[in-house]
Symmetry: D2
Subunit: 344 residues, 4 copies
């Protein structure tokens, strides 16, 4: 029998019971559609308490939309977005950013999943030349796509580089909760205070059913976002049920508990895997993912019981993600299965 | 105290308890993301039982997306979509169809909210002239935006007109359940069998939390839709929770009961309102909406207790919608309040 | 034998000899591409002398591009452009404005080819409602598509209406020369001084080979236009040959002579046609076009010798345009042929 | 005094006298606009004689447009275009391809300016995965951006690779004349016969004033291109003057003479430069460009007399282009100046 929980992705997890309860509790009578409801008003207040009263925040359905709409708010069609060559916006959104913004994405090499000033510098060129797209945004993913976490000073440096050149810093925070928990920072410390201008705030991987937010730390940037969200097909009619999800995540620091737990499970998984000589951890385990190089023949065997993604086929690197509902037992059971499998 | 339920919109209603239960029941263990889960597989089968095994169906977040993505699948950027001047796609989607498809929408006058062959004929011109956008789709809304319902022969005629000219018939079925119930037809009879090529199937106004589907009655038309959905920022990671909603609506004909009930409430509201001399029903009540011309000063007074939308400010016409959760008492109470208010 | 010159369109005319000479004279040695050449520098100076030193001006290939790029500079994708239902941008550009700007065009009825405050007012609604596109530009065509000319106070009123609401006034000046000549105004008086914000300045119909300009009367609006022009595929590498065309039109007021002559030929044609009882002029002849209702059977007969366009098939209205090279003899010969044909 | 002719770019050259004469000769009487004129009919026939009677060909204003519109005809928005990281479409068109097609461009490393099967293979992945854009076109530039020329078998291999995977081969032929002349091939041999599906045929750098063509070797691919051209703002009203330019280039094999001459001048320049020890030619001189590494301090000194572009600032590589009007004397004079300058 297949196990109830896999290590395929934090979005393969279900919904945290508190989130589900909040959704059920929001199901009382009628509420005005499209966000003019008390649940949304309330959750916006909570966002403001977390990030500062002078922000603008907008709920959307999924992370791709949060990224694309946020970037559109920062750009005109002749701009460019500098991002990592492994960035979700570059490799996993089927060209949605280009289609919705009209912009070119400029991929640059990453080190441990992270942009550096040096790599970004190479993409910052052609300035004032009408033949070239004009770099306007640096986009980083926190935690990164390979489970590492930017250190505060790394983000500050990128923000400074961007701002000195009239660019913005965008953060794809599909796993910002994991990063903040990992760094021991508040959400604000992990984003706004480091110079991030616009944040895609991910709720879904943190235990929600489907809830993401675009947070503007400069209200002017979000001035017309209401229209972009509607034109971007991301205005929920029964928005209260998205708001309720964030509300639950923000109640009793559930976001933090969920993230911390997932991170801890990843570290535990790392610990267990390290005992297996045939398994080599290839990136620092700083958030909730473990990337491991394993013997090629083991992949298919493992996948027979546990669905997961191969990260790099050529290098035989696989990705294993932990989530809020991963249990210690899940981890130990899986690590044991890995050990048995690779040893055969 | 404000009443628990208003007549503002069927999307101001909450979620049907069976839908909520289905969502909660889907919350078991992990499931592969993006639709490769048993819940989605199951609901696709149910769609196929309802519409025929040779369809393609794709779930999306909301109705605007269902419309825009469906239209994009039918068009190239130099095409045009003929629609009513009051069509939701023309007036209420903030230009999302134009932005996502690149197409021009050609608005034509409607009669009782419906396109006619005559009105459509006027927009069908400039054929083979490269200066003109080329009409490619006729889009109708069923039930219409003003609460009327196309008769089967009306849709058949539009489908024939379209197909004879190499065009497609698209149906914005945000309220197709209400229309089918009103006509005493199955969902298939009300759509595919009349010649509709692509359907935006609305679950949200029928009692879901947020669940819409694009149904292609010719599989070839949906061939590449997987990519359009992702690029259109409409691919849900935890899709099982959308699938579960449709599953509930399709279980025990819940969709039909919900729609029938809402329609019945609208008829009851009509009956009650007809007793008020100052209120004039302006469109046939064939689905779940009542459009009434009322004394202008009454509008603000009514809105103090019941939130609702003014449909036509100049003509003092307002819109009152019933939904699956509207009770007879709600209707009688509201009608009484209307009577008292307009009589003052 | 077919006559050398028809009345089909002012773009069926050739190139004025002075323009051709200027092109030939610009063909000396090498010049830096993309506009960094002395011919372009010189013609930009001439534009500034005509319109004011604080303008921005950019040359493009054709009128559709001038319109689309100019509108894009004024809008974000969720904006709307209010225009006449007979506007070239609405009916004759194959959806290029929607495709390039993402905006919806809101067509309003025209009177004698002109927008009025009243018609525009109806399209100005849904303000601050995220479900609606936000009107941002009023676009007028001067001279109009039906050969009439806005009076200065009409334009001033539209500009005032626009500016009071945070909108811009765009002028499609494919025939601005004809309008200015008709009104006895300078180019500046006919545009900037009336409140126009952005002008598509047409050279092609005025005797050029293919030369149009986008003129921003507020430099800020044109700030990033260099990039839009390149991204809009309108940056000519050998730009000097476009610049030379405008230079010729601006030398010795050739633009004015050409326009005045074309206008005079249209008036002469009107005079001649008025003598024919079966021909009814349907719009005021204020520029270089004559719109006439003629007996339906005559259309095909006339077209056998003279190619021209039917403007309104149902009303049997045809369009006859004069151009800089139309001769009096052409007009008399054509009018005689019309007379003979309709009388048969 | 600055020399009349520089080595900055083949688009800094003027217009070949025969082209100018053809333009002047086309200036006779009226001609129907938008391509329904005898000049265009005639030149289309000439294209068909060169490339086969079953092609479709469309004239546009410039090379960026030829590329973008040609690519749009081959793609839907979720497709990707594989191209060299130095491709003009990737680096020098200000994001026009992304904006007009909605597609992502996938840059791959080039060897001597050329794509290889190996580099292309790396970009061909994510097939059938809706999270990934789907590779649909391989785009090559011939002659390349660095003055090299693909050998016939190299193009055949790329075409085979593309066609075996349901992809198309697009050729940016801004300098296809130079390549064909270099290879001793006819235009057809150099394109269609190697498996190219769509060609951007460059006239401008070959001696025209501004004339490019999109040639479809499979008519079906060009089926709707009339609309794309108009919507892409590339339909010239006085098209005869573009047609006349191509007509001249096709008369007496002028295209070939111009290209051959330019290539010969580049080889002469190479010969002369090779005598200068401080100058190192960095790419094979196979067409009309010479790329040389020169002492960094010489660049600014040379530019004081001759305008030209630095190709690679870091490596101190400059680009010198020859054109149809470059004379032997120009070359010798320039080479002498280079020698003097670098030796100082």
């Amino acid at each position: 029998m297949k196990p109830a929980r896999s290590f395929a992705s934090d979005n393969n997890a279900g919904v945290h019971p508190e989130v589900l309860r909040a959704v059920a509790e929001a199901n009382r009578g009628h509420a005005v559609g499209y966000g003019d409801d008390p649940y949304t008003t309330s959750v916006v207040q909570k966002f403001k308490r977390l990030f500062g009263s002078d922000i603008e925040v907008f709920l959307v359905f999924n992370g791709t939309a949060a990224n694309c709409l946020g970037l559109k708010a920062l750009t005109n069609s002749y701009h460019a977005v500098i991002c990592g060559e492994a960035a979700h916006i570059y490799t996993d959104e089927c060209g949605a950013p280009e289609k919705f913004t009209g912009c070119k994405l400029l991929p640059v090499p990453v080190t441990n999943g992270k942009l550096t000033i040096e790599s970004v510098s190479h993409a910052y060129h052609g300035i004032d030349d009408p033949h070239h797209v004009q770099p306007r945004v640096i986009s980083i993913t926190q935690a990164t796509e390979v489970g590492t976490v930017y250190q505060p000073n790394e983000i500050k440096a990128l923000a400074r580089f961007a701002h000195q050149r009239g660019m913005f810093l965008h953060m794809d925070g599909a796993r910002i909760a994991n990063a903040a928990a990992s760094l021991g920072q508040t959400l604000r410390q992990a984003t706004r205070d480091l110079g991030v201008d616009v944040l895609s705030f991910g709720g879904t991987k943190n235990g929600a059913m489907g809830a993401e937010a675009v947070v503007f730390f400069d209200q002017k940037l979000g001035h017309d976002f209401l229209y972009l969200r509607k034109q971007g097909m991301q205005l929920a009619s029964k928005m209260r049920f998205i708001s309720a999800q964030f509300d639950a995540l923000f109640t009793g620091d559930l976001w933090h508990k969920n993230a911390q737990h997932a991170n801890r499970m990843a570290r535990l998984l790392q610990t267990q895997l390290r005992k297996i000589p045939q398994v080599k951890i290839v990136y620092k385990v700083e958030a909730n993912g473990v990337f491991a190089k394993i013997p090629r023949p083991a992949i298919a065997k493992l996948q027979r019981r546990y669905f997961f993604y191969v990260w790099n086929e050529q290098q035989s690197v696989v990705r294993w993600m932990c989530s809020f509902d991963t249990t210690e037992q899940d981890v130990r059971q899986f690590a044991r299965f890995v050990a048995e499998t690779v040893e055969r």
